[in-house]
Symmetry: C3
Subunit: 159 residues, 3 copies
């Protein structure tokens, strides 16, 4: 068993894989933050999606009144869904890219730009910044993922 | 080739990785179940999102009448989206955590609590149980994921 | 370091893993295409979700008028969400399946049918084709994922 553990440790000790692990964790934590922001706006705006939620957080007021949508809540939820749509491809394609033997400098470039773009995207969505801030930050993350997918397919293509 | 296969088998034979594979598959199957529950409610409540669906499942009744939202359907869909928002981070961070060399007992603790919390969350959402049942089960799964992310970043951080 | 790189290269050189990497990348790129199709319909239908978007793409017209939902946009968005709900399980379970030592021919069969089913599903959703086209293509992809999950659990189950 210690031999197997050693092998796993070698994987996690590989520099490209460590870089992937770091940035994948960062963008996932950023995405998880959206849940807390949604909860914050639901509670402060008193805008809930479930009847059972209104009795806990909206005490003393009519249940029906607080069972509603709120523009700020919906904005965070759209940002959260956009994260899912873009971070899931990054996780999958990024993992395969990290295993496809890229140069460490190229890998860092991809991971850092993607993480930076998604963080800018979140600010652009939540503040909100005027367009095309959000559109551009989305496009940068998208292009980075496409670039990694190209490297993966060039390395492994096996239909 | 058989040498490479042997190496892959060693990965899947590692105890922590086997535990991850087991619980990751369980929570993904649980998430997939939400699709079937949504379909069940759409058919029994006759509440469809697409015009072409109403002609198959809602025969003999007006198409427009069955093109509608239903509270039960929307509840399952919210549960499904909440699964996506929480299980995607578990999959990514959990994989990296399993590769970061945790104690087997600690890994089991994280994986079992997460899977249990998500199963409780599903019952709390669908029955529904009074709050804070759903909120607490969500928070437990969230905290487990944060704990694994902390271990990953402590082990591999490489910005 | 070159020793570690060699080991990673061995993983990516494994034939089953290469097949997984290829098809996982293809279905993720297909899913990412949904973002572009959504953007296309939002711009051509002038139907935006955010006030700040209307001032860029809907110049010369009232902002409020373009802040609306459109049936074509909503259809693509439902297809995108369905992709997320089904491709995330494929990514996770498929990776574990690829590591569980399946026969190459069996692995190809699973990956090809899944990718084909999701491509048919997208056409069935967007054209749209009459039901049960979309339902059947969804069910085929679902069944393939269940089949892989069964193989994974049979190989690694460790509760």
């Amino acid at each position: 068993r210690s031999g197997e553990m050693a092998k796993l440790t070698q994987l996690i000790d590989n520099e490209v894989f460590r870089a992937y692990a770091t940035y994948a964790t960062i963008v996932l934590l950023k995405m998880m933050l959206m849940s807390l922001i949604t909860a914050y706006f639901r509670i402060t705006r008193k805008a809930f999606a479930n009847p059972e939620d209104t009795t806990v957080f909206g005490k003393g007021e009519s249940t029906k009144k607080n069972l509603r949508t709120d523009p700020d809540v919906e904005r965070v939820r759209r940002g959260h869904l956009n994260d899912l749509e873009n971070i899931v491809p990054f996780l999958g394609i990024g993992l395969l890219y990290a295993l496809s033997g890229p140069e460490l400098s190229a890998a860092f470039l991809h991971f850092r730009i993607f993480a930076g773009a998604r963080i800018v995207h979140t600010f652009a969505y939540l503040i909100p910044l005027p367009q095309p801030s959000r559109g551009l930050s989305w496009a940068v993350g998208y292009a980075v993922t496409i670039s990694m997918a190209y490297k993966v397919l060039k390395t492994v293509l096996y239909l």
